[in-house]
């Protein structure tokens, strides 16, 4: 191990909280120039938050950051850039309607001497040189970014960051959209940066990648550092234990395992490029967990069962009737509801009131000849507000003035008012405070006990394990395993999801 003084980057006692929840607690992290340092951990462990603090994208609550032993202040990305810290995140920061060259050279486009017009030949040559130098040749610098595929955009994004010759390069899940060939080129580039004594901080879910490229791995769990290890001195299962090793807390209601009659049967359901040949069943009053990494096809699968993006082949049967699912209204009429993962994007109408949102999916049910029965509407809304304990209990309040947890309850209330027999819940507790989480778990349990079949899609392992009677794991658009409650453990679910043998 290196001595303190040799550490190029030191982060001491970093704390950060969002909406009252502590995301990073007292994190100490150090790394040296010329190394590839991987940061591993489950979803929500705080990896990205830590990196965003380093790159100035968000501010820390407390703690200090030292570069070469001197305290630095990274209040915004601009200051980070000046200190030679560049980050490539999962979301792209490219400007789609500009060319590759313009994006790489953004803010430093060469101009002609006389009239200060853009010197296009020079700009394109400069961009091409940069790509050549870092081994990404083959990209047309003249094409618009919006015309490129996702993986090529990722390469441009990396090129843009590397073009500034950063001292510290942060790569947040760079491989998620890259092909094997592109990944190889990225690794070649990373090794070259290492030789030029840059520090590369590498975040990835894929453990085999981490073991191949990293010199050291720091594991985060629940916003705390578990430890730092060298790949040569450890193995993947030890690392997984470090990432997840935790007892299930008592926040999950007790559920008894028993055989249940099938309500929903999905058979050989496929949609090109989204999920492939999926078959499973869901029983009356059962909670079945769906676990998988981001991009494994879980969201597309539930959207297909709901008719939002119809499947291209296969069938869905509800109580032994084959359903024709071409639109959400088909699914709702049959008694299937979907709580989507992003409530602000497609779950809520923020400009409308709580009552309007709760009744939105049941307008046909509470009207006759297209005219609303206001008494029935208000009674239904009030009932759900009470059942789910939504605060404040004012149906006329605009949704945008509610807290995230109460907003999520409103979305759930909307689907419950449709009296669905099958609830598809996609990340139902995302962005929700702990207290509301516990309430939501209790509500799910009560619903299941009253006979509703629940399909719970979640990236949070403890939640999947704590709530599910059975767990299915998805990886790369396929179902790769079924686990009973007794069989399921954090290790084997994560291993199945990541495609690793433990």
């Amino acid at each position: 191990m290196s001595t303190e003084s040799r550490n190029t980057l030191q982060m001491h006692g970093i704390c950060k909280s969002f909406d009252g929840g502590l995301v990073l607690r007292d994190v100490d992290f150090s790394a040296e120039a010329g190394e590839v340092h991987a940061i591993s951990g489950e979803n929500g462990a705080g990896k990205s938050t830590l990196m965003r603090i380093l790159s100035g994208a968000i501010s820390r609550d407390s703690g200090e950051i030292l570069l070469d032993g001197h305290p630095i202040n990274v209040a915004n990305p601009f200051q980070a850039h000046r200190l030679g810290i560049r980050a490539v995140y999962q979301e792209f920061s490219l400007i789609p309607h500009l060319t590759v060259a313009e994006n790489i050279l953004l803010g430093q486009m060469p101009v002609t001497k006389s009239v200060k017009w853009i010197d296009w030949p020079k700009a394109n040559q400069a961009a091409e040189n940069i790509l050549q130098e870092i081994g990404f040749s083959g990209l047309d610098v003249r094409s618009r970014v919006s015309h490129l595929g996702v993986s090529q955009q990722q390469m441009v994004e990396i090129a843009k960051a590397v073009a500034t010759k950063p001292r510290i390069l942060i790569l947040d899940e760079p491989s998620a959209v890259l092909s094997q060939e592109e990944l190889k080129r990225l690794f070649t580039l990373i090794r070259k940066l290492k030789q030029d004594s840059a520090l590369v901080l590498y975040i990835s879910h894929r453990l085999d990648e981490v073991f191949e490229i990293a010199d050291r791995i720091t594991v985060l769990k629940d916003g705390q550092v578990v430890g730092t290890v060298r790949p040569k001195e450890t193995d993947q299962s030890t690392l997984i234990k470090m990432m997840v090793g935790r007892a299930l807390s008592e926040i999950y209601p007790k559920r008894e395992a028993k055989a249940r009659p099938t309500v929903l049967a999905v058979e050989k359901l496929s949609r090109e490029g989204s999920f492939h040949n999926i078959s499973f069943t869901l029983g009356r009053g059962e909670i079945v967990g769906f676990f998988g990494l981001v991009g494994s096809g879980r969201t597309q699968l539930v959207r297909a069962i709901f008719g939002a993006e119809p499947a291209t082949s296969g069938e869905v049967r509800l109580e032994n009737r084959v359903l024709r699912l071409k639109s959400p209204s088909d699914a709702l009429r049959s008694g299937i509801a979907l709580l989507t993962e992003d409530r602000k994007r497609d779950g809520l109408v923020l400009s409308c009131s709580m009552g309007d949102n709760i009744s939105l999916a049941s307008l046909d049910r509470i009207s006759r000849w297209g005219i609303l029965n206001m008494r029935r509407r208000n009674e239904g809304v009030q009932q759900k507000i009470q059942d789910l304990n939504i605060r404040p209990p004012e149906s006329k309040r605009l949704i945008r003035y509610l807290s995230g947890g109460n907003q999520q309850k409103v979305v759930l209330a909307k689907w419950l008012l449709t009296q669905a027999k099958v609830l598809l819940l996609d990340e139902p507790t995302r962005g929700v405070d702990v207290a509301t989480k516990v309430e939501l778990y209790q509500i799910m349990n009560d619903l299941a006990n009253s006979g509703v079949a629940i399909l719970l899609v979640s990236s949070e392992l403890p939640e999947v394990l704590g709530m599910s009677d059975r767990v299915w794991v998805m990886r790369e658009r396929n179902l790769v395993g079924e686990f009973t409650k007794a069989q399921a453990s954090e290790e084997n679910l994560l291993a199945a999801a990541a495609g690793v043998n433990v």
Binding site: F306, A308, S327, P328, S329, A331, L332, R333, L338, T340, R345, D346, G347, L348, V349, L350, S351, C352, D356, S359, L360, A361, L363, D364, S367, G370, I371, L372, M374, N378, P392, E394, S395, K396, R397, L398, Y401, K414
Partner: protein
């Protein structure tokens, strides 16, 4: 008194929880608009003897019928997050068609129904193009402004004077007080709209579409059908305005209605509507907007102010209204 308060609370009219500062501010803006409105009337009444005369009130009300109906249709479209620039051309189309049909000796009701169908067709076309091909409402209706105006000139290059006298008198004869049939039709349209937007599934769906189209689609509601419906309502309202305008003026010019869309948008915006979705705006607010614009026109006419100054003042008022509401979002 306490008894009354309790009963109001039980009805859910007065929330027990304290109102948020946000809501208080929003209501303050609404009330201050109302206050400004009455101040305007007061100023008008004190400065002009004619203002409160039956003749002037009747004039004022008859003048706002056109903008009132167009604004109502515009509001429905704006609630979906869209805009309808083609209303002025539709006014001209229906005015000239109803006049032409009357002069072909068709019975009055049939002539009117044909003219209204023209508006429905125009609206259906706008709505279909916008919802089926996901085109921008601004661009689609900008294109139909010209197309419909062209059709009007194809129908008749010269003004048409409806020869049937009963077409002129039926809408403009006072029924009680200053209220003519045309005024009553407009007021009835506002009442119907109030009910439609707040108490029907289609009305609530239209309001929600303006806030989040995808959430509405996922709630099992046919978004495309409701967007088409909104533009049909707008076309129908504009066509009705055209019929009543032809009746009031006694002549239908092919150039009629140019710029009417601006007054309608202005009325909606003064009433609290937000262009491009995002909620706000309602039937009562829009009525207030229509009344305010009508009042200003009326006053400036009474004081013989040139119409150029009227336009300047109208622009200032619209900007002021938008500014006053800006802090609310």
């Amino acid at each position: 008194m306490t008894n009354l308060m309790d009963r109001l609370r039980a009805m859910g009219e007065i929330p027990l929880v304290k109102m948020s500062a946000e809501r208080i501010r929003r209501q303050w803006v609404d009330y201050s608009f109302l206050g400004a409105f009455f101040l305007l009337i007061l100023v008008a009444a004190s400065m002009s003897d004619v203002f409160f005369s039956g003749q002037n009130i009747s004039n004022l009300l008859r003048q706002i019928v056109t903008n009132g109906l167009i604004s109502l249709g515009m509001l429905v479209v704006i609630l979906t997050g869209g805009i309808d620039l083609s209303v002025g051309s539709v006014v001209a189309f229906s005015a000239i068609v109803v006049s032409g049909m009357i002069n072909k000796h068709l019975p009055l009701p049939i002539a009117i129904v044909i003219a209204l169908s023209v508006g429905v067709l125009a609206g259906a076309f706008n709505g279909f193009m916008i919802s089926r091909f996901k085109l921008q409402p601004f661009i689609v209706t900008l294109a139909t402004v010209g197309t419909i105006r062209g059709l009007v000139y194809v129908y008749s290059e010269t003004p048409i004077t409806p020869l049937d006298q009963s077409f002129r008198t039926i809408f403009s004869t006072a029924i009680f007080g200053p209220f003519t049939l045309s005024i009553l039709i407009m007021l009835a349209a506002f009442l119907v709209a109030l009910f439609f937007i707040n108490r029907t599934t289609a009305g609530r769906a239209i309001v929600a579409i303006g806030g989040n189209e995808e959430a509405v689609r996922l709630a099992g509601i046919n978004v495309r059908r409701h967007i088409i419906l909104a533009y049909i309502i707008s076309g129908l309202c504009a066509a009705l305005a055209g019929v009543l305008l032809a009746s009031r003026l006694g002549i239908a010019q092919p150039s009629l209605g140019a710029g009417f869309e601006l007054d309608a948008i202005a009325a909606c915006v003064i009433g609290g509507a937000t262009l491009g979705g995002g909620g706000g705006g309602g039937v009562l607010g829009t009525f207030g907007g229509v009344l305010t614009l009508g009042l200003i026109n009326n006053l400036l006419n009474l004081f013989n102010v040139q119409s150029y100054y009227q336009q300047i003042l109208k622009g200032v008022i619209i900007l002021f209204a938008v500014l006053a509401r800006r802090s609310n979002r």
